[in-house]
């Protein structure tokens, strides 16, 4: 049972630690040995398995599951990590319901799909907890690569480059490595301890992660001691891999956004993770948007004790959040208001309410999401103490637009099949290239980019 704080105060009284622990317990608890073997034994070992095809990092899923069922958990971890060195976080944060498990042939029998995510977590945890290492530094090539960003793409690329014999340094602006896994995903999926453990395991192959070190694009004022200028990196390294992810939350530009209690979802979640759940949260919270990040913010605030309403301008069938995420939010007590758009935020210094308007669908014939129109005179105010905008994240254009010769398309860095940008020194992957996808997509990018960098530096590619 989720504990909800019902006290009538502006700011939620923090829940007692035991309630927080219960509310934020992993939604994919670790399997016992017995459970894992039983579940693994259900796998049919499909040929050319749909689960592997569906996996963006192409893990040989039937093989690692077979290894679990034959009590070779270590071998299972090696199979996973051979394709995806961040197999641990992917096990917990991947939307497996729409990827590997979503394609399990058991659906065709109305049979529960194999619990691939938790099996992968089981094997990955086994190896990481025991610090069983499968890969080592390759013979030195006397070449250096800088990686900017210690998120999934950056760590994955650095790991693969190290295997290939490159000297790699990863630069990370935040205090800890992990990127989205450390600062972005919901803590009931993957918590700080797990993210730190995984990042340490990955870098344990022998590359350096310089945390708290921001890379800035150009020389100028306000340079702090911990800042490094790109041009200096260029001199020191043979190649630079951009894995900077996404930037700030998008704000719709409504009156009252400057009020205290108005947050972007990415920033709210960042502080929630960085401060280990110790963040103030309003008694009544409104989350704007209906993507997966909106759901995360809504569920997180609900689990912190708030009464949460999610407002979305279109219909339930138009929301981009996965069905299982929506179900999770409903279970956590989040209220959904559809066909509702925010108009302005009301309050003096602090948010008191969100003025909204009801919408109607005017044209469903168009491909994709339908056009909507505000219903005249339908304005109403939702009282609240906190508004979280989860209406997308901006790209880091401000940063990479200053790199000379870098081609950018709709805010995304353009790369060729070697993940090389139009500036030959620079390579890129992850969210800054794909515009923002899953952790597993970033890991696959990082791995493949490392191989691309290797090809280019060896002179095997144009």
């Amino acid at each position: 049972m989720l504990e909800i704080n019902t006290e009538n105060s502006l700011v939620c009284t923090p829940l007692p630690p035991e309630s927080l622990t219960r509310n934020f317990a992993s939604i994919k608890p670790r399997m016992t040995d017995n459970e894992a073997v039983i579940e693994a034994s259900r796998c049919l070992f499909c040929h050319d398995a749909p689960c592997t095809i569906a996996c963006p990092s192409s893990i040989d899923i039937p093989m690692f599951i077979r290894q679990i069922s034959s009590h070779n958990t270590k071998g299972a971890a090696k199979t996973i990590f051979s394709q995806n060195i961040l197999g641990k976080s992917c096990a917990y944060v991947c939307p497996t319901q729409v990827l590997c498990e979503g394609s399990c042939v058991y659906h065709g029998l109305n049979e529960k799909p194999i619990d691939i995510g938790r099996l992968q977590g089981y094997a990955s945890d086994f190896a990481i907890d025991k610090n069983i290492r499968f890969f080592e530094k390759g013979p030195s090539r006397d070449r250096k690569v800088a990686v900017i960003g210690a998120g999934p793409a950056g760590l994955s690329c650095a790991h693969e480059l190290t295997r290939l014999g490159y000297a790699v340094v990863v630069y990370e602006a935040s205090k800890q490595a992990g990127g989205l896994n450390m600062y972005g995903v919901a803590p009931y999926k993957f918590n700080n301890e797990a993210a730190a453990k995984e990042a340490a395991y990955v870098s344990g192959i022998g590359f350096e992660v310089r945390t708290g070190t921001r890379i800035i694009a150009e020389d100028g004022q306000n340079i702090e001691k911990t800042h490094i200028i790109l041009s200096d990196l260029e001199k020191e390294y043979d190649a630079i891999f951009l894995a900077v992810g996404l930037g700030k939350s998008h704000r719709p530009g409504l009156p009252g956004e400057e009020l205290r209690g108005v947050y972007g979802a990415a920033e709210f979640i960042y502080s929630l993770r960085a401060q280990n759940l110790n963040v103030p949260v309003g008694r009544r919270v409104i989350v704007v948007g209906a993507g997966n990040t909106a759901i995360d913010a809504a569920v997180e605030t609900a689990k912190l004790g708030a009464e949460v309403t999610l407002v979305y301008r279109r219909r339930p069938e138009d929301q981009s959040a996965y069905d299982f995420e929506v179900a999770h939010a409903l279970q956590a007590g989040v209220r959904f208001l559809y066909l509702t758009s925010p108009v302005q935020i009301i309050g003096e210094a602090q948010v008191d309410g969100l003025q909204c308007v009801k919408n109607e669908v005017v044209n469903t014939a168009t491909d994709g999401k339908p056009a909507i129109k505000a219903l005249a005179g339908s304005e109403f105010v939702l009282p609240c103490n906190m508004v979280i905008f989860a209406t997308g994240q901006e790209k880091m254009v401000d940063f990479y637009s200053k790199i000379p010769g870098l081609s950018i398309n709709q805010g995304k860095v353009t790369v060729n099949s070697f993940f090389q940008t139009t500036n030959p020194k620079y390579f890129a992957g992850g969210d800054c290239v794909n515009g923002g996808k899953e952790v597993v997509n970033a890991v696959a990018h990082g791995r493949d980019a490392a191989r691309g960098i290797d090809q280019v530096l060896k002179g095997g590619a144009a």
Binding site: I38, S41, L44, C46, H47, D48, G108, L109
Partner: protein, 421 residues
């Protein structure tokens, strides 16, 4: 409900489901519980010179999520005195006069056999089963399978028993022999009224990979044991049918070997049994499984318009032939139902790597395609397919008449019809 009562070689029982001589029939307490649960008969744990058992007695063969696909034991015959056993048997017989109570026995000398028979008949047993089958421990002392493996000895001991017994005598056969019919015919020559088979199969269930010691481990050492449970059923079915089909063999057969459901029992009947015995399934699930067995067998008999289980006896066995009598012109090929297919492609890889490369993958769908011109009709794809009735084997009428190996043109020793006429 069909009438399940039987008369097996003169032994009457309310139904054909008997407990085999084994741990579930150790004591009067157990056998009375079994009869209350609905079992039709019980073959008492083998009487003989009381033995001393080792601790750590069973080992199991698991398959994926299924525990005890096969069970192995190194337990010996009864470890209790004849007096103790007889007094409990007497009580069982008094409380359950209409249930079949069979005394299993294993002795060394003719006098011992005679003495035990006399004492058993005094307390009212319905028949005897001679344990010529145990493949572990007792055989080292010249009993059990050491007898069953030597037809002359088996015949002689059976004859000793028949000198004294007025009740029907069943000889329990060991499968640890090249030709089961030799053992069955020896029992028949000795005067047995029936046979029961199979006893357990020589086996070592598995090795502990940590300690590198075989199981069951007796302080790090082990010994080969007797294998039973669902995994042995196909071996038992074959042996039962071999005896049933032997032209000189005339005795009724009590079928044993991996019976767990009504369907297993029905298969034993169809292969020539007139009653069945169960052990491992009870050791796994307890006595109450007999409810499912009785209800299922009764329904099956009714569906087939039969009044008694023995109407089933031998129907399938009579359809067994020598390989060379099978029709080489009979042709089937696999057919995949695309509506049922879930796209696992196990049929494809099984055929590609393990059979005849007669299934192709297609570009636009995960449903594989049978290369009908290559398919030899081996069944493998339909066996690996996880979906019921998705891959079926369809007969291809080719107009050719029946053709067996003796007449086949490819047979260098074929019978020439012109030469015969």
């Amino acid at each position: 409900m069909a009438d399940l009562s039987i008369d097996f070689a003169g032994i009457k029982a309310p139904n054909p489901f008997w407990l085999a001589s084994a741990p579930p029939t150790n004591t009067g307490y157990q056998v009375q519980n079994a009869f209350r649960a609905g079992w039709g008969g019980a073959v008492w744990k083998t009487l003989g010179q009381p033995i001393v058992n080792v601790s750590s007695r069973y080992g199991a063969m698991n398959y994926k999520n299924n525990r005890i696909a096969g069970l192995n034991n190194i337990e010996l015959i009864t470890d209790r005195s004849l007096e103790e056993n007889l007094s409990e048997m007497k009580e069982v017989k008094q409380n359950f006069p209409n249930h079949a109570l069979i005394a299993s026995m294993m002795w060394e000398t003719r006098e011992e056999w005679h003495n035990c028979i006399k004492r058993c008949e005094e307390i009212g047993v319905d028949g005897f089963e001679l344990n010529f089958g145990c493949p572990h421990g007792m055989c080292e002392r010249g009993m059990g399978s050491a007898v069953g493996q030597n037809p002359d000895v088996a015949e002689r001991i059976t004859a000793w028993v028949k000198e004294a017994a007025t009740k029907p005598v069943i000889v329990k056969l060991t499968p640890n022999i090249t030709d089961i019919t030799a053992a069955g015919l020896a029992a028949q020559r000795g005067g047995a009224d029936a046979v029961s088979l199979i006893n357990t199969i020589n086996s070592v269930t598995n090795i502990n990979l940590q300690t590198m010691s075989p199981n069951p481990s007796v302080d790090g050492l082990s010994t080969h044991g007797g294998y039973c449970g669902p995994a042995v059923k196909p071996i038992a079915l074959n042996m039962v049918s071999e005896l049933y089909n032997h032209p000189d063999f005339k005795l009724p057969i009590s079928g044993i070997g991996g019976i767990e459901t009504w369907g297993d029992a029905a298969e034993f009947f169809l292969m020539g049994a007139s009653a069945v015995q169960v052990c491992t399934a009870v050791m796994h699930y307890g006595y109450r499984i007999v409810d499912e067995m009785k209800a299922g067998l009764s329904d099956y008999l009714e569906q087939n318009g039969m009044k008694t289980p023995t109407e089933l006896t031998g129907i399938a066995a009579r359809k067994l032939r020598r390989w060379e009598q099978l029709d080489l012109n009979y042709k089937i090929i696999a057919h995949i139902d695309p509506e049922k297919c879930i796209g696992c492609q196990l049929c494809y890889i099984a055929c590609e790597d393990g059979a005849h490369q007669s299934i192709a993958l297609q570009n636009h769908t995960r449903v594989p395609k049978i290369k009908e011109e290559h398919c030899v009709g081996c069944n493998l794809c339909s066996l690996v397919c996880p979906v019921d009735q998705c891959i079926t084997m369809v007969q291809i009428p080719n107009g050719a008449g029946r053709l067996t190996w003796p007449e086949h043109p490819a047979n260098p020793n074929r019978i020439s019809h012109s030469a015969l006429t």
